[in-house]
């Protein structure tokens, strides 16, 4: 496959392209979806795709080529289209290689894993043990192998593999909990723990009452705090900033969060999204994004870095920079200490459907789902339902009061789009609204 990547780049160069990137990806992922306590479908993929990026006289064209037996013809078509396209004055090239990449390897037991039924059964069993009646979710074995070549001398090979399980446990329609298990090593994969957590929350969430609007101090469980940090990281892409899709514009060097929050992106660290290099072939690394509440940098590729007079952070995607994996520096509080600080507040465990009224100001709302609990004096006083967090991304970050000392790897169906390593978080003055009667 490395031959195919090199051949694509060579062909593009021969046709007059200044820059070319080819990332041939061999996908061998496997999934079991389950619902009502048993598998509803199992999926397996055998795909090989070349993600290609060619630039002819600053005319940028990207593509995914599926027929790898006819890459020459495909590149010829792309270059023809590029020539007919328009120059992008903001385009500033790709990184100059060659690069040395970390010698990471996936767990061979994960790579050779052929069947995931017992992990699904373990998760469901854990939830049912806690009192849940109905479970649904997905087990994934992610596996993709990358062969990268660029016209600036970068070459790379990366076999990536990880295990993931997401489970929602329900006692009834309005009493549910969610659990996540992620691991790159088979020995560290614990779907039964995810099931127990989902089941425990679902059982605790029995007989919810309609919630009350107001402003509350809120304990964010790692899954929902991960959706907040995922929003932050996504809005820190330089592309989002320039498209008006971010509240972080013109805020580098300024306070955007409380001094409790230190946030970084690190594609090189162990996670189910670990990767040796970005789409330009640059070795992934740790990039400090927010340090004690102060914004340090956006996420960049070579072009956006030049536009923003910064250095690339090694976050190039095929077209735009984006986060690889997000890490929150842990705080110093135990989970119990975090809860003990809440005299009259809420504990939220999950959310979905985060939408903005203004991306530029950060005004948003998001809808908690699964267990929603009213906390008094650090204890669950009652279970709520039917509330909405109506607030502002910057306001939420600036009101982080305390962070837990035990981060967990979270990723979930769109809301947490890349792995976010997040602890429990305590955020004050969180706006809660409800449907009008």
């Amino acid at each position: 496959m490395e031959d195919i990547a090199a051949r694509i780049v060579q062909k593009a160069t021969d046709l007059g392209c200044q820059d070319a990137v080819a990332d041939v990806v061999v996908n061998r992922s496997y999934q079991i979806r389950f619902a009502r306590n048993e598998a509803v479908i199992s999926n397996r993929w055998r795909e090989s795709t070349a993600s290609v990026f060619v630039v002819h006289d600053k005319r940028v064209v990207a593509s995914d080529i599926k027929d790898l037996s006819k890459t020459d013809e495909a590149v010829e078509r792309l270059v023809k289209i590029a020539k007919a396209s328009q120059r992008n004055p903001d385009y500033a090239g790709i990184a100059k290689g060659p690069f040395r990449h970390a010698r990471t390897r996936p767990d061979p037991r994960v790579v050779s894993l052929a069947e995931g039924g017992k992990y699904v059964e373990a998760a469901i069993g854990g939830a049912l043990d806690e009192g849940a009646k109905e479970c649904a979710g997905s087990f994934w074995k992610y596996q993709d192998e990358h062969f990268l070549a660029t016209s600036n001398g970068a070459e790379g090979h990366d076999l990536r593999a990880g295990l993931y399980l997401s489970i929602r446990a329900l006692v009834s329609l309005e009493s549910s909990g969610h659990g996540i298990a992620c691991a790159t090593k088979l020995s560290e994969f614990h779907p039964e723990k995810a099931g127990h957590k989902a089941g425990r929350i679902s059982a605790l969430a029995r007989d919810p009452k309609p919630g009350k609007a107001g402003r509350y101090t809120v304990v964010f469980d790692p899954l929902i705090f991960g959706s907040i940090t995922d929003q932050a990281a996504g809005r820190l892409s330089a592309w989002a900033v320039s498209a008006g899709l971010s509240p972080f514009g013109k805020k580098v060097g300024k306070r955007v969060a409380s001094n409790q929050l230190t946030l970084y992106d690190d594609g090189s660290a162990e996670s189910i999204a670990r990767k040796r290099f970005d789409a330009e072939g640059i070795p992934t690394r740790r990039n400090l994004l927010i340090n004690k509440g102060i914004l340090k940098t956006y996420l960049h590729n070579t072009s956006t870095a030049k536009k923003f007079k910064a250095r690339t952070t090694g976050n190039a995607g095929l077209i735009y920079p984006d986060a690889h994996a997000v890490f929150v520096k842990p705080g110093d509080r135990s989970r119990d200490e975090i809860f003990s600080e809440v005299k009259d507040g809420l504990w939220l465990t999950n959310t979905w459907y985060t939408r903005y009224q203004s991306y530029m100001t950060g005004d948003l709302s998001t809808i908690p789902r699964d267990g929603i609990f009213h906390i008094r004096k650090g204890e669950v006083a009652e279970t709520w339902k039917d509330i909405r967090v109506t607030d502002n991304l910057l306001h939420l970050l600036q009101n982080i009061v305390a962070l837990g000392d035990s981060p967990e790897q979270m990723m979930w169906w769109g809301e947490v789009s890349v792995p976010n390593f997040v602890p429990y978080a305590l955020i004050k003055d969180v706006g809660i609204t409800t449907s009008a009667k």
Binding site: V60, I81, A136, L170, G244, L245, I319, I367, G414, T434
Partner: protein, 467 residues
């Protein structure tokens, strides 16, 4: 058609009780114009085959982008193996359907493939130039013109053989206007099934300029939206999103049955909920794949079932769920052709197509004249709904105060935060100005962001709480 037939025959010979294969070729193009610069152009050449089988009462699906028979055999073997490994206690069955042979395509007056790249770029650049001619303070502007040509071959082990061709065109734009520290943002989305002629039906420049002018007016003249109980006149965009979110999604039978519980969620409507009252008698909401030129137009679904109009809510009551063959069997009914997949490499699941409030006979003027005090919300920006599809929120983008039957000044960020029955029960008038916008509907795992149309005429709600 030979390859899908080969896959199905091979699956049956290897023990599948049912098998289907979909071979798809997609040719997407995506032009991204950001702040006046063609940021990137994406051109895809996508092709592959997916096979779904029933074996031992369980479903297995596998996909490859290789058309070599050895690779097709391999994915069939994969699908059967993983289906058998499921060890289900209850057996999945499919509702009975007749085998059909069809060859349908959406006509193009001017083929999308014949339109030069330069012309497509010029189309959005001319709109951008017109926009900049307004001399407004526009902090960011983003246009995305995309088209796709979807060629499908479908076969199943019951004898269906279907070929289809769907050309699709879409424009999405996102604008940010400033006035001092005040920000107004908008996003609009138009879709078309057919050829390049679709671009002329939108009169894009006029629409974008009207939107920008309304944003400017909202920034400079907009006042705080009133709070309390009052009437709401909601434009087609608002009626469309409400149809999609609180009528279409809760009537998806896979949700109702819990198959999507972990991701897209369940439904406030129980499996026995047909007949349940959810709105006033004037409310009828339909989902119809056969709306000509709507972006989710199709004649057969991805299980080879003929498409037809579905009445989701009729005269205020739940009338029909959206079904594929699996959910139809579970609820002892027939599929109504709602199974769709975003590409060859994912299973077909229950999806909406073109969902809208069925129009009646009121004019917008008549509806506004009948309001003593309220808000006319023409469009929205922020929206969301909970995973049982009961608590929805729509935040106004273009909205105006109504006093004594007259439209007054703009009001900003009107919030409609109501339950599904509260929203639909308050409707007392339905207009005749049916209009559609396009959307991407997200569901399933792996995620399938699928073409959908959301529409309706202007509707009037009485005595609802706004803020």
């Amino acid at each position: 058609m030979d390859l899908v037939g080969f896959a199905v025959d091979y699956a049956r010979s290897k023990g599948a009780t049912y098998a289907e294969a979909r071979l798809e070729r997609q040719e997407p193009e995506n032009f991204i114009l950001k702040n006046g610069v063609l940021d990137a152009l994406y051109v895809g050449h996508d092709a592959g085959i997916g096979v779904r089988v029933l074996a031992n009462g369980a479903l297995g699906f596998a996909a490859t982008n290789s058309f070599a028979k050895s690779d097709i055999r391999a994915i069939v073997d994969d699908a059967i193996k993983i289906a058998k490994a499921s060890r289900r206690k209850s057996k999945i069955t499919f509702a009975q359907e007749d085998a059909i042979t069809m060859n349908w395509s959406v006509p193009e007056e001017r083929k999308l493939s014949d339109v030069p790249v330069e012309e497509k770029i010029e189309e959005i650049q001319s709109v951008d130039r017109d926009l900049m001619g307004l001399k407004y303070k526009i902090a960011a502007r983003y246009f995305n013109l995309s088209d796709n040509r979807i060629d499908k071959y479908f076969a199943n082990s019951e004898g269906s053989r279907i070929h289809s061709f769907s050309p699709r065109l879409r424009v999405f734009y996102f604008l940010t206007l400033l006035d001092g520290s005040n920000v107004e943002q908008t996003s609009r989305n138009y879709g078309w099934s057919g050829g390049w002629e679709g671009i002329r039906t939108w009169d894009l420049s006029k629409r974008v300029l009207e939107e920008a002018r309304s944003m400017r007016r909202s920034l400079t003249e907009g006042k705080k939206s009133p709070e309390g109980k009052m009437d709401l006149v909601a434009g087609p965009q608002v009626a469309g999103i409400a149809s999609h979110e609180s009528c279409g999604h809760p009537t998806e039978a896979d949700r109702v049955l819990g198959r999507e519980a972990s991701q897209a969620g369940k439904s406030f409507i129980p499996p026995e909920g047909v007949g349940m009252k959810v709105g006033s008698e004037i409310v009828t909401v339909v989902d119809d794949p056969l709306v000509e030129h709507a972006i989710a137009y199709y004649q057969t679904d991805d299980e080879g079932v003929k498409a037809r109009r579905r009445y989701l809510y009729k005269e205020g009551r739940v009338t029909e769920f959206l079904h594929n063959r699996e959910t139809a069997a579970a609820l002892r009914t027939r599929s109504n052709g709602a199974a769709r997949a975003v590409n060859y490499n994912v299973e077909a699941i229950v999806r909406m197509a073109n969902t809208f409030v069925e129009p009646k006979d009121h004019s917008v003027e008549e509806m506004i004249e009948g309001v003593k005090f309220g808000v006319y919300m023409k469009s929205f920006m922020e929206w969301n709904i909970d995973d049982k599809r009961y608590n929805a929120k729509y935040a106004g983008r273009e909205a105006y105060l109504i006093e004594n039957g007259e439209v007054k000044h703009p009001v900003r960020n009107t919030i409609v935060e109501l339950t599904t029955p509260t929203f639909w029960s308050a409707v007392d008038a339905v207009g005749k100005d049916l209009d559609f916008e396009a959307g991407f509907c997200g569901k399933s795992d792996p995620g399938q962001a699928l073409d959908a149309s959301l529409g309706g005429p202007t509707i009037r709600l009485r005595n609802v709480h706004l803020r």
